[in-house]
């Protein structure tokens, strides 16, 4: 089995969040992470990103701040009452 490069491993680590890796892929990742500190850090960082995004789920003022202008509010209400 050919050793995979960090660029390939990081892509597999990311993809494992969307699909199930094959047995060979999982083994390749596991072996690589065993000996590669930076990639192990990377994997932990992606886990943290996932936790961060869990907090943001749905409608969250942490990341979504914008003000609906007064003019727009008036227009919207006008359009609603005429619909």
């Amino acid at each position: 089995m050919k050793w995979k490069k960090c660029s390939e491993i990081t892509r597999l680590v990311s993809e494992s969040e969307e699909r199930k890796l094959s047995f060979v892929e999982r083994m390749a990742v596991r072996l690589h992470l065993f000996i590669c500190g930076p990639c192990e850090h990377y994997k932990n960082h992606l886990s943290l990103l996932k936790k961060i995004c869990e907090q943001v789920k749905g409608n969250n003022p942490l990341l979504e701040k914008a003000a609906l202008p007064e003019e727009s509010r008036k227009r919207i209400l006008k359009n609603i009452s005429s619909s």
């Binding site: 932990n44 960082h45 995004c53 943001v56 409608n59 701040k65 609906l68 509010r73 209400l77």
Partner: protein, 209 residues
């Protein structure tokens, strides 16, 4: 409106004193706009990127909400309910745009910035380091400012597919179908790139090893 109020009065009069009915959710778009207008607008704007379109989506959401208010039995909050309606409309809008202007993933996949992370032999150029107490960061409001800036820094198309996946929880096939991406593999490569960029930005601007 008047009809709904009369029903509520009648119901209250008919119920025994010990069992007052649950207060009906406000069916007043003015209140909805006041309580949720900014949040709904922000949600839409983040995903469609055009203020006028975002406003229309908020308007359509309130109209739909008015029509289906009887379906809202208070199982979730008003905010959650309205956001749910808005989410469908945002996806419809994105889908429409995806048909007219498919994402054009080839350009994104050729993106030269991919080479910023690894050298020709596939090794790290800047090695990720250890992040100190990462969970604590989330308790800090300045961290969220940094996070927001890092998300904003993502190339527009990568940002959109990242948000649909991570904030809205859409699955692979839903994202592909909505945005007009040519293959699952292309989506996965782009998500990987988005995560790579975001992680790098956070390390540079917050966790700074």
């Amino acid at each position: 409106m008047a009809e709904i109020m009369n029903l509520a009065d009648t119901a209250a009069a008919a119920a025994p004193a010990a069992e007052l009915p649950e207060p009906k959710p406000k069916t007043d778009p003015v209140s909805w706009l006041e309580d949720h207008g900014d949040a709904l607008y922000a949600y839409a704007l983040l995903r469609v990127n055009e203020p006028a379109v975002a406003e229309d989506l908020v308007q359509e959401t309130l109209i739909t909400a008015l029509k289906s208010v009887d379906n809202f039995k208070g199982e979730s909050t008003e905010r959650t309910w309205l956001t749910g309606i808005l989410k469908h409309k945002v996806l419809d809008q994105l889908r429409k745009k995806g048909r007219e202007q498919p994402l054009g993933d080839d350009a994104l996949l050729d993106d030269q910035s991919a080479g910023a992370w690894f050298d020709e032999s596939g090794h790290w150029i800047h090695k990720p380091g250890y992040w100190q107490e990462p969970d604590r960061a989330m308790e800090n409001s300045q961290f969220w400012e940094t996070m927001k800036n890092c998300v904003d820094k993502l190339p527009e198309k990568l940002r959109l597919l990242y948000m649909l996946r991570e904030f809205d929880g859409l699955e692979t096939d839903e994202i592909i179908e909505t945005l007009g991406i040519s293959s699952r593999n292309n989506l996965w490569v782009m998500l990987s790139r988005a995560r790579m960029n975001l992680r790098g930005c956070l390390e540079l601007n917050w966790f700074g090893t």
